[in-house]
Symmetry: C2
C-alpha cells in the first residue's frame, strides 16, 4: 500500500458522510411530499411538532450557557482551537437532533394518513424514512466532523486536543439531551397516565386529556432527539478512543509490515475509515429494508438490525485484503458487531419472552410481588450482556491489544445509522397511533399503527440494550485511552509512568467514590421525573376543574400549558445530574490526581454498566408485562382487573427506569470517561 492510496482512503469517511447526508435530505423531502391528512390530524401534529421544537429551542438556550462556560474554560486552560472543536462537536449533535426531529414530527402524521388510506406498506415506509433521516444524519455528521478535523490536523501536535474536545462537545449534548429528554418524556407519560387513567378515568390518548400532546412530544424529545445524541456520542467516542490509543500507544499491533510510524498512521486512520464503511453498509441495509415493505414489519426491522454486522464483515475483509492490512482488524470489528447484535437479542429476550409472562403472572398476587419480580428479572438480565462485553473485550485484546478493544466498539457501532433509523421509527409509529386515536380515525387505522408500534417497542428495547452495550465497551476503550494519555504526557515531561496498581489505596478510594455516582444520577433522575409528573398532574386536574365543558367534549383542553410545564421542569431538572457527570471527574482529577480519577472511572464503570442494564431491562419487561395482560395473555385477568392494576404499578416504576435513569447512567459513564480523557494532559503531573 502506498502513502497515496492511504491518503485517498482517509478522505472516504467525509465522502461517505456527505453521501449519507444527501440521502437523508432525499428522505426528508420524500416524507414531506406524502399526504398529511385532514385538518384535525394536521392540528394535532402541529401541536406535537411545535411542542417538540419549543423544547429544542429552549434547551439550546440552556445549553448555550453551558457551552459558553466550557468554551471559555477550554480556551483559557487549553487553546482556542480546543474550544472551537468542542463547539463543533456539540453543534453537529444539535444539528442532527434538529433535522431528525423535524423529519420525525412530519413523518408521524403522514404515517397515520397512509394507515388511514389502508396502505400498511406505505405507512411502514413513511415511518422508516422518517427514522432514516435521523439515523443517517447522526452517522453522517459524526463522520464528517471527525473526518474533516482529522484531514486538517493530522500532522498537528494538537490532534489529540482537537479530537478530545470534539468528543466532549458530543458527550455534553448527549448528556443533557438524554437526561432532559428522558425526564420530559417520562414526566409527561407518567403524569398524563396518573391524571388520565387514575383520576379522570378516561382512556389513553383521549383527546380531552391535555397531557396527551405532551406525552407525544415526549416520545420525540426522548426517543428521537435524546437517543440520537446518545448514539452520535457513542460513535464519536468509540472512534476517538481508538484514534487516541493509536496516537499515544507505544505498542501498537502490526497492521502492515513496516515501522511503528507507518503502523501508527494506519491505526489512527482506520477507525474513521471503518466507520465510513459502516455508514455505506447501513445505507444499503436501509434500502433493502424499504424493498421488503410488504413483509411483516417485525421481520423487516429485525433483518435491518442483523444484516449490518454480516455485510460489514465481508466489506471489511475485502478492503483490508486490498490494502494488505491484517485481517485481525476484520475479526475484531466483526466480534464487536456480533457482540452488539447478541446483546440486542438478549435484551429482546428479557423484555418480551418468558420473563415477561412470569412478571405478568406475578401481578396476580398484587403490585408488591409484581415489582419484586420485575426487579429480580432486571437484576438477572445484567449477567449475559456483561459476559458478552467481557468476551468481546477478551477476544479483541487477544488479537489487537487495547487498540482492539476500541476497534471492537467501533465495530459494534458500525451499524449506527441503521440502529438509529429503527429507533426513531419507534416514536414515529407511536405518535402515528396517538394522532389516529385523537383524530378519531377508528379502530381499523389504529390496528395498522398498533402493529407498527408494537414492533417499534421490541426494536426500541433492542436498540437500548445495544446502546448500553456499546457504551460499556466504549468506556473500556476510553479508560485505556485516558491512562495512555496520562502516561504519554508524563513521558513527554520526563516523568516515569504512573502505575495504576489496583490495590493502591488511591485506586481503591477512587473505586469507592466512583461507585456512588451512578446511584446518585439514578436517584436524582427518578426524583426529577416524580416531581415533574406531579406538576403535570396538578395542571391537568386544574384544566378539568376550570375549563367548563372539557369533560363533555364541548371545549378543548390547553395542551400547550402542559408542554410548557414539562419543558420547564425537564430543563431545570437535567442540570444537577448533568453537572454531576461533568464536574465529578474534573473535581476529583484536579484535587486528588489521576490515580484516584482512574479508580473512580473503574468504579463507576462497574456500577454504571450493571445498574443501567438492570434499570433499562426491568423497565422494558414491566412495560411489556402490562401489555401482555392487556392483550389477554392471562385468561381471566383483563384490562382493568386487580392484576392489571398491579401490572400498571410495575409499568409506572419501569417508566423512569427504562427511559430516564437507565440510559442516563449509561451516558454518565461515557461522559465521565470522555471528560477525563480531555483533562488528562492537565492532571497528568499531579
Amino acid at each position: 500500500m502506498t502513502t497515496e492510496t492511504w491518503s485517498t482512503w482517509l478522505k472516504t469517511p467525509v465522502i461517505f458522510g456527505v453521501l449519507g447526508l444527501l440521502i437523508a435530505i432525499f428522505f426528508y423531502f420524500r416524507v414531506l411530499k406524502q399526504e398529511k391528512g385532514n385538518e384535525t390530524m394536521e392540528r394535532i401534529a402541529r401541536y406535537i411538532r411545535e411542542g417538540a421544537m419549543a423544547f429544542l429551542w429552549r434547551q439550546y438556550k440552556t445549553l448555550a450557557v453551558y457551552g459558553v462556560v466550557v468554551f471559555a474554560l477550554l480556551a483559557w486552560k487549553m487553546s482556542l482551537l480546543a474550544g472551537f472543536c468542542f463547539l463543533l462537536g456539540a453543534f453537529l449533535s444539535l444539528l442532527a437532533g434538529f433535522i431528525g426531529m423535524k423529519a420525525a414530527t412530519f413523518a408521524n402524521v403522514r404515517t397515520t394518513q397512509a394507515a388511514f388510506r389502508n396502505k400498511a406498506a406505505d405507512a411502514l415506509v413513511t415511518a422508516l424514512d422518517g427514522g432514516a433521516v435521523m439515523g443517517l444524519t447522526v452517522a453522517a455528521l459524526g463522520l464528517i466532523g471527525l473526518g474533516v478535523l482529522y484531514l486538517f490536523y493530522r500532522e498537528s501536535t494538537q490532534l489529540s486536543e482537537v479530537l478530545h474536545s470534539f468528543a466532549v462537545g458530543a458527550s455534553s449534548i448527549a448528556l443533557f439531551a438524554r437526561i432532559g429528554g428522558g425526564i420530559y418524556t417520562k414526566a409527561a407519560d407518567v403524569g398524563s397516565d396518573i391524571a388520565g387513567k387514575v383520576i379522570e378515568n378516561i382512556p389513553e390518548d383521549d383527546p380531552r386529556n391535555p397531557g396527551v400532546i405532551a406525552d407525544n412530544v415526549g416520545d420525540n424529545v426522548g426517543d428521537v432527539a435524546g437517543m440520537g445524541a446518545d448514539i452520535y456520542e457513542s460513535m464519536v467516542a468509540a472512534i476517538v478512543a481508538a484514534m487516541a490509543i493509536a496516537i499515544t500507544s507505544t505498542q501498537l499491533p502490526t497492521f502492515v509490515e513496516g515501522d511503528l510510524e507507518t503502523n501508527k498512521w494506519i491505526g489512527v486512520g482506520l477507525p474513521l475509515i471503518l466507520s465510513g464503511l459502516g455508514l455505506v453498509v447501513s445505507i444499503v441495509c436501509i434500502f433493502i429494508a424499504r424493498l421488503m415493505k410488504n413483509m411483516n414489519p417485525a421481520k423487516v426491522l429485525r433483518g435491518a438490525l442483523i444484516m449490518p454486522p454480516v455485510i460489514l464483515a465481508a466489506v471489511s475483509y475485502a478492503v483490508m485484503a486490498s490494502l494488505g492490512i491484517t485481517q485481525s482488524v476484520t475479526l475484531v470489528l466483526t466480534v464487536g458487531a456480533l457482540g452488539g447484535a447478541i446483546i440486542g437479542l438478549i435484551t429482546d429476550y428479557y423484555t418480551s419472552s418468558t420473563p415477561v409472562s412470569k412478571i405478568a403472572q406475578s401481578a396476580t398476587t398484587g403490585a408488591g410481588t409484581n415489582v419484586i419480580y420485575g426487579l429480580a428479572i432486571g437484576m438477572e438480565s445484567t449477567a449475559v450482556p456483561m459476559l458478552v462485553v467481557a468476551g468481546v473485550a477478551y477476544l479483541a485484546d487477544h488479537y489487537l491489544g487495547l487498540y482492539g478493544v476500541a476497534l471492537s466498539a467501533v465495530g459494534m457501532l458500525g451499524g449506527t445509522a441503521v440502529v438509529m433509523t429503527v429507533d426513531a421509527y419507534g416514536p414515529i409509529s407511536d405518535n402515528a397511533g396517538g394522532i389516529s386515536e385523537m383524530s378519531g380515525l377508528g379502530p381499523e387505522v389504529r390496528k395498522i399503527t398498533d402493529e407498527l408500534d408494537s414492533v417499534g417497542n421490541t426494536t426500541a428495547a433492542i436498540g437500548k440494550g445495544f446502546a448500553i452495550g456499546s457504551a460499556i465497551l466504549t468506556v473500556l476503550a476510553l479508560f485505556s485511552a485516558f491512562n495512555m494519555e496520562v502516561n504519554h504526557v508524563r513521558s513527554l515531561n520526563g516523568l516515569p509512568d504512573l502505575q495504576l496498581v489496583l490495590n493502591e489505596p488511591k485506586i481503591l478510594i477512587g473505586i469507592l467514590l466512583g461507585s456512588i455516582l451512578p446511584f446518585l444520577v439514578g436517584s436524582t433522575t427518578m426524583l426529577a421525573v416524580g416531581r415533574a409528573a406531579g406538576a403535570i398532574v396538578e395542571e391537568i386536574r386544574r384544566q378539568f376543574r376550570e375549563i367548563p365543558g372539557l369533560m363533555e367534549l364541548k371545549a378543548d383542553p390547553d395542551p400547550k400549558k402542559i408542554v410548557d410545564i414539562a419543558t420547564t421542569a425537564a430543563l431545570k431538572e437535567m442540570i444537577v445530574p448533568g453537572l454531576i457527570a461533568v464536574v465529578a471527574p474534573v473535581l476529583v482529577g484536579f484535587t486528588l490526581g489521576p490515580a484516584v480519577l482512574a479508580g473512580m472511572l473503574a468504579g463507576s464503570l462497574a456500577v454504571g454498566a450493571t445498574l443501567s442494564l438492570f434499570m433499562a431491562n426491568a423497565g422494558g419487561a414491566w412495560d411489556n408485562a402490562k401489555k401482555f395482560i392487556e392483550k389477554g395473555g392471562l385468561p381471566g385477568h383483563k384490562k382493568g382487573s386487580d392484576t392489571h392494576k398491579a401490572a400498571v404499578v410495575g409499568d409506572m416504576v419501569g417508566d423512569p427506569f427504562k427511559d430516564t435513569s437507565g440510559p442516563g447512567i449509561a451516558i454518565l459513564i461515557k461522559v465521565m470517561s470522555v471528560v477525563s480523557l480531555l483533562v488528562a494532559p492537565l492532571i497528568a503531573m499531579l
Copy 2:
C-alpha cells in the same frame, strides 16, 4: 517493651474471650430464671423455640454436606490442618448461633411476662440480657478461636493457612446462615402478610393465622442467628486481614523502634489484642446500659452503640502508651470506630427521618410513586456511607498504610458484642409483642412491648448500616491481603511481583465479571423469597379451607406445617446464591488466574457495596414509611386507606431488600474476598 510483656499480652484475647463467655453464661441463666408466663404464652413460645431450633438442626445437616466437601478439598489441596481450622471456624459460628438463639427464644416470652406484670424496666433488661448472650458469645468465641490458634501456630509456617481457613469456615456459615435465614424470615413475613391481611382480612399477629408463628421464628432465624453469623464473620475477617497483611507485607509501619521482624510480631498480634480490649469495653457498656434500665429505651440503646468507640479510644491510648507502641494505632482504631458510628447514624437518618415522611407522602399518589420514591431515596443513601468508608480508608492509609486500613476495620468492629446485643434485642422484643398479641394479653402489655420493639427497629437499621459499612472496609483490607499473599508466594518461588495494573485487559475483564455477581445474588434471593412466600400463602389458604372452625376461633391452626415449609424452602433456596459466592472466585482464580480474580473482587466490591446499601436502606425506609402512616403521620390517611395500601406495596418490596438481598450481597463480597485469600497461594503462579 520486652518479649515477655508482649507474650503476656498475646494471651489476653483468649482470657477476655473466656471472660465474655462466662458473662454470657451468667446472662443465659439469668434469663432462664425469669417468670415464663401462663400456659398459652408458654405454648406459643415453645412453638417459636421449636421452630427455630428445627431450622437450625436441619440447616446443620445441609451445611454438613458442604463442610465435608470443603474439608476434603482443603485436606487434599492444602493440608489436614487447614481442613480442621476451617471446621473450627465454622463450628464456633454455629455454636454461637445455637446458644444465642436458645437464649433469644427463652427471653422473648419472659419479656412479655415482665411487660404483663407492668414492669417496663424489667422487660427491657430481659430483652437486653437475651441479646447479650448472643452478642458476647459471638465476640468471645471469635476471639478464643483465633487467639488459641495464634498462640499454637505463631511460629509455624502454616500460620497463614490456619488463619485463612478459619476465616473461610466463619464466612461459609455466615453466608448460608444469612441467606437461608433471610429467605426464611422474609418468606414467612411476606407470606403471612399476603395471606393474613390481603386474603383473609385478619389483623397482624392474629392467632388464627398459621403463618404468624413462622413469622416469629423467622425473626430469630434471620435477625439473631443470621445476623450473629454475619457479625462474627466480619470480626474474624477484619482481624485475619490485618494479621495477613502484617505476615506478608514488606513495608510495615514502625510500631516500635526496632527491626522489621519485631514490628512484624507486633503487627500480627495487635489486631487480636485490640479486639480483646474491644470485648472488655463492650462488656462494660452492656452493664452500663443495664444500669440505665429506667431511662427511655431509645436513649439506652443509642448510648450503648455510641459509648464503645469513645471508651475504646481511651483504653487503646493507655495500653499503647504503656507498651510504647505508636499512637497512630489508637488514631486509626478510633477513626474506624467513629466511621462505623457515623454510618449507623446516617442509616438511621435515611430510615427514620425526613426521607421517610417524604416516602409516606409519595404514597398519597399511589403505589407506583411510593416505590419510585423509595428506590430513589435508597439510591441516594449510598453516597455518604461510601464517602465515610473512603475517608476512613484514606486516613488509615495515611497513618499506617494498608495495614491501617485493616486495623480501622478492626476498630469499626471493636464494639461487636454491643452491636450484636442490641441487634438481637430487636427480634426478642418483636417476638415479645407477637406473643402478647397471640395470647390476648391486651393493649396495655402490647404498648410496653411496642415501645421496646420500635426502638429495636431503629437500632436494627443502625446495626445493618454498621454491618454493611464494616463489610466494605473489611473487604478493602482482605483485597489488599489477597494481593500481598499472591506476591508473597510468588517471591518465595522466585517469581516477580504480579502487577495489577488497572488498565490491563485482564483486570478490566475481571471488573466486568465481578460487577455481575451482586446483581445475580440480589436476583436469586429476591426470587427465592417470592417463591417461598408463594408456597406459604398456598398452605395458609389450604388451612383456612380445610380446617373446620378455624375462622371462628373454634379450631387451632397448624403452624408447624408452615414452619416446615419455610424451613425446607429457605434451605433449598440458599444453595444457589451461596454457591455463587464460593464457587465464582475459585473458578475464576483457577481458570483465569489471580489478575482476573483481583479485578473481579474490585468489580464486585464497587457494585456490592453500593447495591447492598441501596437495598438495605430503601427497605428500611419503606418499612418505616408504612409505620409512619399507621401511626397517623399523614392526617387523613389512616391504616387501611388507599395511601396506606400503597405504602404496604413499598414495604413488601422492601422486605426482601432489607433482610435478604441487601445483607446477602454484603456477605457475598466478604466471602469472595476470604475465599480468594485462602486460594491465593494455589493460584499465585498462574
